[in-house]
């Protein structure tokens, strides 16, 4: 008989008639790394919520160390030493690493004061044992995302957790940091911890996991040993059909310059430094220029300033040769810019509007939709129906569906459809596939490439290396507000890109820059 740390047997959970988990069985062995694979909405989060006692399962049992348990609320889960690193870290930014680690379980000393020395001693022991080097006295706001993640791991270890759950831990990391994380996970496994690793990245599963359980649409597709499977098989299990994210694209036919950015500087809203520092580049007709980089390195600010959502400190932006640096958002829209925003709920949609109202967000004053100040609902609906058809936007009531009630993927398709339908010279897309399932990603990628082949200029900001490698004709790497590298798409490896993204090659780049200046 095998020894299981945690068993979730025949779990079923319904939300007012919709089955989120249907007879799911997940068995975590002691000292193994077990991957939980599935698309968005496959039921991973629900399953974990049940394990943590946030929800009660309608059917099924949970066993810990072979004993049936009833996890009624999160504190019970904590009692059984289950810990989790969330995708978005739960850290207090203004506290130090040490303070964050002991938060909530502070060792008490004389008169009830916190015994910092005792805490430090224990944490240092843990660091040495697991090789989790991190500066205990640095503030969270000053350290890298990778270090923040280590802090989260230390938090779990400090609480003597035996079961460690990682929720999409690699989404925010550079390739190098991902390798380090894998190493750490192997170390934890060696020390006898059981790890549950939630992800949708297949190569990571193959690299580190022992076994993998695949969920699809709330159902358990199966559990397999990673040594007996291939990436292709896993992907088919996850999606239910064969998916090919590698796009076959023609060589670009490059035309004239559409967007030119010169020495752009954008101030940071929080810190004193510049969010975007002296950035220059261009985008031409018929090419996809991708700005690669880790989230938070000035990409958002760059796009905000290009699209007119925020002000520029210095530098110039030219669209089709015209200086648009200080022009309003509306004028930019009219002179040939469209924008798929990073945050579809904040900027992309008015969620309480119907789909048809949303599809003319920029165009409602256009002649076609505006008769003497009145909205021409007939034309708006016809236009929306066209977007719905062309971009496969699925909703309950067609054009009159309230956008809020649509799924994330379809909301995104609606935005992509709206922006592409405007047929502008320049399309700026920021993370257009964030949080979407593989099918939708494939679809949106194809539509972007189609636009490029139609001779449009496309500027894509992406944090996903796969997306960068797949779509780019030219890659710009951004690090701490500066462009630190520019490559033709086939002249750079993933690893090199990773190093540039992490800023490791920055000094080299600067040296070259200075050298160039010297020659001039």
């Amino acid at each position: 008989m095998e020894e299981y740390k945690i068993e979730m047997l025949g779990i079923r959970k319904e939300f007012s008639g919709l089955v989120a988990n249907d007879d799911i069985t997940l068995q975590l062995r002691k000292g193994e790394i077990h991957a939980l694979l599935g698309e968005n909405g496959a039921g991973k989060s629900t399953l974990m919520s049940i394990l943590f006692g946030m929800y009660q399962a309608d059917k099924g049992v949970i066993k810990i160390d072979g004993e049936e348990v009833n996890i009624t609320d999160p504190s019970v889960a904590t009692k059984y030493h289950i810990g989790m690193v969330h995708q978005h870290f739960k850290l207090v930014e203004i506290y130090t690493v040490l303070q964050n680690i002991i938060l909530g379980v502070e060792p008490r000393g004389f008169m009830g004061f916190i015994d910092m020395n005792k805490a430090r001693k224990r944490v240092t022991e843990l660091i040495d044992r697991y090789g989790l080097g991190v500066d205990l006295d640095a503030k969270i706001s000053d350290i890298t995302v990778g270090m923040q993640q280590r802090t989260e791991i230390l938090k779990m270890l400090y609480r003597d957790n035996d079961v460690l759950i990682f929720d999409e831990p690699t989404a925010v990391l550079t390739p190098q940091e991902i390798d380090e994380l894998m190493e750490i996970m192997r170390g934890l496994k060696k020390e006898g911890k059981s790890i549950l690793f939630i992800t949708h990245k297949l190569n990571e599963i193959m690299a580190v996991a022992d076994r993998c359980t695949v969920l699809r649409k709330g159902k358990c597709i199966g559990t397999i040993n990673t040594s007996d499977t291939t990436i292709e098989q896993l992907s088919e299990m996850m999606v239910g059909r064969k998916i090919d994210l590698n796009i076959e694209k023609k060589d670009p036919t490059i035309g004239k310059e559409v967007l030119r950015v010169e020495n752009l500087v954008v101030a940071d809203k929080v810190h004193k430094k510049n969010a975007v520092n002296d950035v220059s580049f261009n985008v031409r007709q018929g090419e996809v220029v991708v700005i690669a980089g880790i989230d938070g390195n000035g990409q958002s600010e760059l796009v905000y300033s290009l699209t007119g959502l925020s002000l520029v400190k210095s530098g110039h932006i030219y669209l089709n040769g015209q200086d648009i640096t200080k022009v309003s958002v509306k004028r930019r829209n009219e002179s040939g810019m469209s924008h798929i925003p990073e945050d579809r709920h904040k900027h992309g949609l008015v969620l309480d509007f119907t789909l048809s109202n949303n599809s003319v967000l920029e165009l409602f004053e256009h002649k076609e939709f505006n008769t003497l100040g009145f909205i021409n609902q007939k034309n708006v609906k016809a236009y929306t129906d066209q977007i719905i058809e062309n971009f496969d936007v699925r909703s309950t009531q067609g054009a009159s569906t309230i956008s809020r009630s649509m799924s994330g993927g379809n909301q995104q398709k609606a935005i992509v459809g709206r922006e592409i339908s405007r047929d502008t010279d320049l399309l700026i897309a920021v993370q257009p596939t964030r949080g979407l399932d593989v099918g939708a990603i494939e679809y949106i990628h194809n539509r972007l490439i189609e636009q490029r082949d139609n001779g449009k200029a496309i500027l894509l900001v992406s944090f996903e290396l796969d997306e960068v490698m797949n779509l780019a004709d030219r890659i710009l790497v951004m690090h701490e507000g500066e462009l630190v590298g520019e490559f033709e798409y086939n002249k750079v490896t993933r690893n090199e890109l990773g190093l540039y993204m992490a800023g490791a090659k920055k000094d080299e780049v600067n040296a070259i820059k200075e050298g160039k200046n010297g020659q001039n």
Binding site: S16, A20, F52, H88, G218, G308, L349, F353, S407
Partner: protein, 411 residues
């Protein structure tokens, strides 16, 4: 039977019907609580008192045309409330809470009275003056909000008081306006009859009740006009987009700051018009109160009870005025005069629950739909969509961990 059931099921999913249903139930519950208060204060007079309250002008004897007169009075006082309600909801549609409507109302009253009593201008110019003054006063709130990020509720409340004392200061020093013996403004009728809103013979219809004017028609026209503006025009579209999501409005190239100023100016102009509609009838004289006039606040109730629709606010304003007048007729030998205000106050405040009740109703309908296999609303073809939305909210599983979200800390 099934037919009736399915008819009702479809009906209850119509937005208009939902609004009507919730508004009526709120009004009913309000009346019920009013009755309970009457019962507690004086059980023996409660039935009669409730009748007086609920029936309003209908309880007035028909003798000598008194009932007709009371009806005319209700209409006269309904008019400014309709416009005040529209003022609130216009701003509310754009995501702004114009609690400064009372101050804008005061400015409107001031402008109308000044132009009538000092300059003896005809009524339509006085009304225009009130609209402009109220609008400018509303624009101040808008400018503060849009460009200096001052919360419109705070600046609105402060400007209410500023407006009140500013107008009192000018009016009381001006002997052409102020009757210092009666301690109120001089009746317009006496110095400039042409400044009163014309009756167009309406008074003949209502037993020579001289305060009834075409104001009620003006109010209804304004409500219908704003209904069209909000629902059908690009201006309304912009307003709603800004109100629902100002980031998206900005993203789409709308000038969201200018929109805020325009909307609060519009709202203010309506509040100002409301002032003109009340005081240019001569039904009462301005006594320079030391408290902010309640018209702007009553407008909030009218707007909400009317389901935030200009057309709804016509009905709700009539109802509110109706019970207010009923309340003022309560038998004072059993009830102190304040009781009327308490009862009407309770009813009016309950009206604000309309949105809450509607929300609950919507949730129940949604649940029913899911349970019934979604007969009326066909589900998405990929059925896991709704789960996705639901699980997303629950993504943060925090076992007993004191944690702060990043944004909160940054603040």
């Amino acid at each position: 039977m099934d037919k009736i059931k399915s008819f009702f099921a479809r009906l209850i999913r119509k937005d208009v019907f939902k609004t009507l249903l919730t508004s009526f139930s709120c009004a009913l519950v309000g009346l019920l609580i009013g009755f309970i208060i009457l019962l507690i204060v004086s059980p023996e007079a409660s039935l009669k008192g409730f009748k007086t309250l609920a029936l309003g002008f209908l309880d007035v004897p028909t003798k000598y045309g008194l009932r007709l007169e009371s009806f005319a009075k209700t209409l006269t006082r309904t008019a400014p409330l309709i416009v005040s309600g529209v003022a609130i909801l216009v701003a509310y549609k754009a995501g702004l809470f114009n609690i400064g409507a009372s101050g804008q109302f005061t400015m409107g009253v001031f402008a109308a009275l000044f132009m009538a009593l000092v300059w003896h201008l005809p009524w339509y110019l006085c009304m225009l003056g009130a609209v402009i003054f109220g609008g400018l006063y509303g624009a101040i709130v808008g400018v503060l909000k849009a460009f200096l990020n001052v919360n419109e509720v705070i600046s609105g409340i402060m400007l209410n008081w500023i407006g009140l004392y500013f107008t009192s200061m000018i009016i009381k020093q001006n002997s052409t306006m102020w009757d210092s013996i009666k301690y109120e403004t001089i009746p317009i009728e006496r110095v400039s009859p042409g400044s009163l809103i014309p009756t167009l013979g309406l008074d003949k219809l209502f037993n020579d009740y001289k305060y009834i004017t075409i104001g009620i028609f003006i109010a209804i026209i304004v409500a219908v006009f704003y209904y069209i503006v909000i629902e059908k025009t690009t201006l309304g579209y912009k307003m709603k987009a800004t109100g629902f999501n100002k980031n998206a409005a900005k993203y789409a190239g709308m000038k969201e700051k200018l929109n805020i100023v325009i909307i609060l100016a519009l709202s203010g102009s309506l509040a100002g018009l409301s002032g003109a509609l009340l005081y240019l009838t001569g039904i009462e004289n301005w006594y320079c109160p030391t408290n902010v006039p309640s018209m702007g606040f009553d407008g909030i109730s009218a707007a909400f009870l009317g389901g935030l629709s200009p057309l709804g606010s016509i009905l709700s304003s009539f109802f509110i005025t109706h019970i207010t007048i009923g309340g003022s007729r309560l038998d004072t030998s059993f009830y102190s005069p304040e009781i009327a205000k308490v009862v009407t106050g309770v009813i009016i405040y309950l009206c604000a629950f309309v949105l809450f009740i509607k929300d609950q109703l919507n949730k129940r309908i949604l649940k029913k739909d899911r349970e019934l296999g979604l007969e009326l609303l066909k589900p998405n073809d990929n059925g896991d969509n709704n789960i996705k939305e639901e699980t997303k909210e629950e993504e943060s599983i925090v076992p007993n961990e004191p944690s702060l979200k990043e944004e909160e800390v940054n603040k």
